[in-house]
């Protein structure tokens, strides 16, 4: 899950620039996470404090000169480094006021870019492909610089990384439509060249972004066709010489017509990418959108329309996106959650509920009012904005701030305004999990802190999932809060098997007496607990007892006498208390995958297994005695669910059950019951077969007593 928060303008763009050029060269991180260095296309370099939206310092080259590459901060010395007129290095400090007087060194070749690394010397990339460290270059500015690239080969993009304390420079070039990638290592100086196959039909790469993870560079490349490809560049390529890089399609943007020209991509954390200059859906041809996409699930996570048209420039620094559009540079804070399926689908779920509430048949004043408040900030002035959007992102931080240090009782008070606001916005969703995670952290840290009602309310919103707040359910179990645990099992769509099993274990081991004070949702259990009448009566001609008598099985002669009575007895008693059975039903209803559940099931003790099996058998007898496959009650488990659990339990504990003397009766009864069921189903199968045959017969054409036909004999 990712979201874009309300953005703000950092600075205006130099007026009079054309539609194609925003007039901004680049944005580089400053001294502080809150500082950025903005290099204008003309002559200016400005350092901003982002949160205050105000410049800290600004330098400009004199008329006739131009800054040709984005200025960077030298991490070790705290100096700013920029290149003027392609060949002149300029280095200055914050104290320097006059740009004319700062250090100047003329180089022998034109510079493409300077890349700064926090703890190392900046790297200078020359336009012809050579790379030098700044200190080495300063020692001999006029030193000869080799030409790496061939004629007509132009650097399009470059980036640098730090791997094992060694700087790496990755840059891409283009030569008459062909794309190449170079990986430059220093110490030892090694250069790897890769070729990237073009997509064909004139689609060319228009923007790159790269991340370094696990000794492998992931390069994402946006093509003009709207495809985002992923290329993996190994840091230690085995083969010398030029290599071919395979690419894999990561995402196909819904570009309805034409090609993208002014678009940019940048990778965010946790499998998200931000793209500017492409529409977020094929239906809207409008390209002035900033979108965040999840590359794992190929889902759109957030989008924002950019007023005045985008230039296709996008930078990312310290949790904020910088994008140029219209006549301003806008800063947009964003947040990316770890991408789980539940979270990825969360957006979908949310839009559907939104549709429901907005359906015209059901006018909701709340949502209407909220609509108004949501609309206001756009119409209102800049000064009004912060206060009016109080329901949204700023409040989350505020709420988080407020939560620190309050007692369990006060928590609800603090959260009340947040929880009572409409749960439609994505910010609410994000904030919810954020708040929950914070609360959980606190609960874990402080054993005395346990705001039960608040946690229950959070769970009841139905917008939490296990992956968004891991540990919620386990905390509930730890605190023996079975109500909350049941709530979580009901609400979380993605409880892992290990946790399900832990719940099961806890539910099975809790004494019924302990559950008396606990408030448990009993919807899953039918309160009319008289299965006898439905069992004894023959429904649709089926009676398990009758079938049993029909088969003359010699092995079962011993229990034969009291068999029918014991059978009914078995079905009459519920082996667990009402509340416990409600809890267990919740387990039965939860989703799982067998292979993951099985190892955890083995942790149950034999007593627990037998109890659970007896309960399952009880349920099965009850449900199969009925004509309907589901027990009465809204949240009762289906026969299939019951049967699957029986099978799982038997699988996991077969040897144990065989050895346990107290399980013997249970097993034989299960066996007998299953056999009678198998017999029933085989009878049903036969009936089905017969009826199918009937169907075939009906297809044959009806021949009367007399007909005239024409035949042909061969």
């Amino acid at each position: 899950m990712a979201a874009l928060y309300e953005g703000f303008t950092l600075c205006g763009l130099a007026a009079g620039k054309s539609r194609e050029n925003s007039g901004l060269l680049g944005i580089e991180p400053g001294r502080d996470p809150d500082h950025v260095i903005v290099t204008g296309a003309g002559r200016t370099v400005t350092v901003y404090k982002v949160s205050d939206q105000k410049p800290l310092g600004s330098w400009a080259a004199k008329q006739g000169q131009a800054v040709t590459c984005p200025a960077v901060l030298h991490g070790q010395t705290g100096e700013y480094v920029a290149v003027q007129d392609s060949k002149v290095l300029r280095i200055w400090r914050d104290e320097d006021i006059n740009f004319e007087k700062v250090f100047k060194a003329t180089l022998s070749a034109a510079v493409s870019r300077i890349h700064a690394l926090p703890s190392l010397e900046p790297l200078v990339l020359f336009q012809r492909g050579a790379v030098r460290q700044l200190d080495a270059l300063l020692a001999a500015p006029q030193q000869a610089v080799e030409e790496v690239l061939s004629e007509d080969e132009v650097i399009r993009w470059s980036s640098c990384f730090l791997e094992a304390e060694q700087p790496l420079l990755l840059f891409s070039t283009e030569k008459s439509g062909e794309c190449f990638l170079y990986l430059q290592k220093l110490k030892p100086n090694v250069l790897h060249k890769y070729s990237i196959d073009s997509e064909g039909k004139g689609a060319c790469p228009i923007s790159f972004t790269a991340t370094l993870e696990n000794k492998c560079i992931t390069l994402m490349c946006l093509y003009s066709s709207g495809c985002v490809y992923k290329l993996l560049v190994s840091l230690h390529p085995s083969v010398e010489g030029e290599q071919h890089l395979p690419k894999s399609l990561l995402l196909k943007l819904p570009v309805s017509e034409g090609v993208l020209s002014r678009a940019a991509i940048t990778s965010l954390e946790e499998g998200h990418i931000a793209i500017v200059g492409s529409p977020h859906s094929a239906s809207t041809g409008d390209r002035d959108f900033l979108c965040i996409w999840n590359t794992n699930f190929q889902t759109l996570q957030a989008s924002k329309e950019l007023a005045g048209g985008a230039y296709g420039q996008l930078w990312c620094n310290a949790g904020k996106l910088y994008v140029t559009h219209g006549k301003v540079l806008t800063v947009l804070p964003y947040r990316c959650e770890m991408s789980s399926l539940a979270a990825a689908l969360g957006k979908l779920k949310q839009t559907s509920t939104q549709e429901v509430t907005l359906s015209p048949s059901e006018l909701n004043w709340n949502s209407l009012l909220h609509e108004e408040t949501a609309l206001q900030p756009r119409t209102g002035g800049a000064g009004m904005r912060t206060r009016n959007s109080a329901t949204l992102s700023p409040t989350i931080n505020q709420v988080l701030e407020d939560l620190k240090g309050v007692s369990s009782e006060e928590v609800e008070e603090v959260l009340e305004p947040f929880l009572s606001c409409s749960p439609v916005s994505p910010q609410f969703q994000l904030g919810l999990s954020h708040i929950t995670v914070e609360l959980l952290k606190r609960c874990q840290a402080d054993p005395g802190f346990y705001p039960q009602t608040v946690l229950a309310r959070l769970a009841q919103t139905g917008r939490l999932s296990h992956s968004s707040c891991p540990g919620f359910l386990m905390l509930a179990l730890e605190k023996r809060d079975y109500f909350l645990a049941q709530l979580c099992l009901q609400q979380f769509p993605d409880v892992p098997e290990a946790v399900t099993c832990a719940c099961l274990k806890a539910f099975l081991s809790v004494a019924d007496a302990d559950l008396v004070p606990v408030n448990v949702d009993l919807e899953g259990v039918s309160l009319v607990d008289g299965p006898g009448h439905s069992l004894e009566g023959v429904q649709n001609g089926f009676s398990p007892v009758l079938l049993e008598e029909d088969g003359c099985d010699v092995q079962l002669t011993a229990p034969k006498l009291d068999q029918s009575s014991s059978w009914i007895d078995m079905s009459l008693t519920r082996p667990v208390g009402l509340k416990k059975s409600a809890l267990l039903n919740e387990i039965l209803r939860s989703s799982y995958s067998e292979s993951f559940l099985l190892p955890h099931l083995k942790d149950l003790s034999s007593r627990q297994v037998i109890l659970f099996l007896r309960y399952l058998q009880y349920l099965y007898v009850r449900s199969s005695g009925d004509v309907y496959t589901q027990l009465p009650g809204l949240r009762a488990p289906t026969v299939t669910q019951i049967m699957d659990w029986v099978s799982l339990l038997l699988d996991a504990h077969f040897t144990v059950l065989i050895m346990a003397p107290e399980a013997k009766g249970l097993l034989t009864q299960l066996h007998r019951f299953v056999r009678s069921q198998v017999r029933l189903y085989s009878e049903l199968g036969k009936i089905q077969g017969t009826l199918q045959e009937l169907g075939k017969i009906n297809k044959e054409q009806e021949i009367g007593l007399y007909s005239i036909e024409v035949i042909e004999l061969f």
Partner: protein, 686 residues
């Protein structure tokens, strides 16, 4: 490729009668079976299970027991209290006599075939002495309470076991006293039948009695001690029939549920000399009561209310010969019950008690192969002719022109003249028939309808000339061989010159009608002819035999034709073997006389005699039917053999003029729907 328009007729409401009892004569390899309507059939097992003789039934006759004496004497006894011996040459009762004991339930003959024992309603067992030309009452055994339902002689001839209600008695034949009284358990309380009726007993030579009763048990008793050895519960209903194999190592029992259960005398463990009766196989080929069951050397034969005779081979006893080992069912008679007047499109259906005359419908449209044409003129039942007297109709025929109908019972022949004027139909019985005509085994009109040929007793054939005013006896043909076997097939040539007859001794005689004398006799082939016809142009005689052989005999040259030899070379009969039913009718296409049409119950085929016979086998054994093949792969137009299995089961197929076919079908489901409900309703899917 030949195209035909087909009258598909399903309105012949033929209903076979249920099988009541059977007797198998192993030396003659013939099975005698009696049906519920009193008719008796003799089936020759060594001749492809051909229905060799049929003795028509009688309304007053009800047969409960049937018995061979020697291989040429057949006795029945029934609920009318009469004992009947049949004349197997004249195919009618030889004599009847009353046993004076009320209805007779059972009969048994001793192993020396000197005495009969009859079990009567009044509880008496009556002994009759068998004399060469009759049987004679000898004495009663001690009369007991309760009807005698089953009897069995011991091999020694000194003891008789008799099954009654709840009891089995053993009588000493010499003294006539009951020497042993065995009480049979009643069914458990609450079952459908409290009384235990011992439907069957079998006295084995080791003094073991096997009984089958109405409670569903097959029980083995020790006759000397009167003790029970073993009980097998085989059915929830009655065990209705029981049969012991000749060497007494196998017993089969038929039940009301339609099952036949086999017991075998085996030692329970290998190497053990002690043997026991052990239930081994269960056959389920019937839907209704299995009223009769018997065992031959290689097969279990059963029959019952569902009217079919089932011959189920015991695979351990047959040598590997696929045609022998398959299950055979005899459902329809091996003779045609339908006669057809080709020109006016009339069909005459023969029922035991009546004749029905139908006019075929028509259509005024044409269609492509595979299509059904709209019926614009519906078929019409013109006539329903009830027979007089108790005797069932044994044969009937209609003339080509449709103006004459004749039928015969064992006692009389009737001839009718039919006048069809537009919608008016009138029928006149020809009152004055020549005196020689008393009964007929087969009737046939000449092609021009001027003569009637009557196959009568002593293998004679009477020629009667017909005219509006009178019927005159013209001549009587007698076979030269002097055989007295009944004639069952007649065929007359189209030009009126030739008449052929086939009798039950496999003799085929050709008579010259112009010269009124015997022309020749065909070489005797060891299988009964099942169908016969004379070619309208060449006057060659075509004969189909029960073993599926087909011959063509030139009456002029008095020898088999080349075509016949070629057909043999190609092995036509071998191909035919997979069809179990005999060819019952041969005819020719009037518009293309080279085309011979022949049919059995499951297929009809057309053989073009003008085309070469090559590749017949390949066609038979090919998995692809010519229809599936592409136009080019098809065995071209030069293929002589064309077969159709679309219509089943067939009672009659005939070729009319203008490439019309008439096909009389009798779907089994229609027969089953007329049967009473079986005792145990079939469960779905079982």
């Amino acid at each position: 490729m030949v195209e035909f328009k087909v009258h598909r007729v399903r309105f012949f409401d033929y209903m076979p009668s249920g099988i009541r009892c059977m007797a198998f004569h192993s030396k003659a390899d013939r099975l005698a079976l009696a049906r519920l309507d009193g008719s008796v059939e003799i089936i020759n097992f060594s001749n492809n299970y051909f229905q060799e003789k049929v003795i028509p039934g009688n309304d007053s006759r009800s047969i409960e027991a049937i018995c061979w004496v020697g291989c040429d004497r057949l006795f029945t006894a029934g609920l009318n209290g009469e004992i009947v011996e049949f004349d197997l040459e004249r195919l009618c009762p030889k004599y009847t006599l009353d046993a004076f004991g009320g209805p007779i339930w059972t009969a048994a003959c001793n192993s020396e075939e000197t005495h009969f024992a009859f079990g009567c309603e009044d509880g008496s067992v009556k002994l009759f002495e068998i004399l060469p030309d009759k049987i004679q009452f000898e004495r009663n055994l001690d009369r007991q309470k309760g009807r005698i339902l089953s009897l069995s002689w011991h091999k020694s001839g000194t003891l008789i076991a008799a099954g009654s209600l709840d009891v089995i008695r053993v009588f000493d034949v010499k003294s006539g006293h009951s020497v042993q009284r065995i009480l049979v358990d009643k069914g458990p309380a609450g079952t459908h039948n409290k009384d235990c009726v011992v439907w069957n007993v079998a006295f084995l030579s080791d003094y073991t009695i096997v009984s089958g009763d109405s409670v569903g048990k097959v029980q083995i008793w020790d006759a000397n001690k009167g003790t029970l050895i073993k009980t097998h519960l085989v059915s929830k209903w009655d065990v209705l029939s029981l049969s012991v194999s000749e060497n007494e190592d196998s017993i089969v029992a038929g039940t009301s549920e339609g099952t036949v259960v086999q017991f075998q005398l085996l030692s329970p463990t290998i190497g053990d000399t002690e043997t026991q009766w052990i239930r081994t196989r269960t056959f389920k080929h019937h839907t209704h009561d299995v009223r009769a069951v018997t065992e031959t050397k290689t097969a279990v034969v059963s029959g019952g209310l569902d009217t079919q005779l089932v011959i189920c081979s015991l695979l351990d006893k047959v040598e590997v010969k696929p045609s022998e080992s398959v299950l055979r069912k005899v459902i329809f008679p091996h003779r045609t019950l339908v006669s057809c007047a080709k020109k006016p499109g009339l069909l005459l259906f023969q029922f035991p008690d009546q004749l029905e005359l139908w006019r075929l419908g028509g259509t005024d449209t044409v269609g492509k192969p595979g299509e059904s044409l709209p019926v614009t003129r519906k078929p019409e039942k013109l006539l329903q002719l009830k027979r007089k007297g108790d005797d069932h109709i044994c044969c009937s025929t209609i003339s080509e022109c449709g103006q004459w109908i004749a039928y015969s019972t064992v006692t009389s022949i009737r001839l009718y003249q039919l006048q069809c004027e537009s919608n008016n139909i009138s029928i006149t019985k020809v009152s004055k028939l020549p005196k020689v005509l008393r009964s007929a085994h087969q009737l046939q009109f000449s092609a021009d309808s001027s003569k009637l040929f009557v196959a009568s007793e002593q293998a004679t054939i009477h020629v009667i000339s017909l005219s509006r005013s009178e019927c005159k006896h013209v001549h009587t043909f007698k076979p030269k061989s002097g055989s007295s076997a009944p004639v069952h097939l007649l065929a007359a040539s189209a030009d009126g010159q030739w008449l052929t007859s086939a009798n039950r001794h496999c003799e085929i005689n050709v008579y010259n009608l112009k010269k009124l004398k015997h022309h020749c006799m065909l070489p005797v082939y060891n299988s009964l002819p099942s169908a016969m016809a004379i070619h309208p142009e060449t006057n060659n005689l075509l004969i189909a035999h029960a073993d599926q052989q087909i011959f063509e005999f030139s009456t002029v040259d008095k020898q088999y034709t080349d075509w016949s030899r070629k057909l043999h070379k190609e092995g036509f009969h071998k191909c035919r073997i997979k069809w179990h039913t005999p060819i019952t009718h041969i005819t020719f296409n009037p518009s293309a006389p080279s085309q011979v049409m022949l049919h059995d119950t499951y297929m009809f085929c057309i053989i073009d005699q003008s085309l070469p016979l090559d590749g017949l086998k390949a066609q038979f054994y090919s998995q692809l039917t010519p229809k599936d093949m592409s136009e080019t792969d098809r065995p071209s137009k030069t293929n002589a053999f064309k077969m159709c299995t679309k219509y089943q089961p067939l009672l009659h197929v005939n070729v009319l003029e203008d490439d019309w076919l008439v096909v009389v079908e009798r779907p089994l489901i229609d027969i089953h729907s007329q049967l009473p409900a079986p005792v145990r309703q079939k469960k779905f899917g079982t």
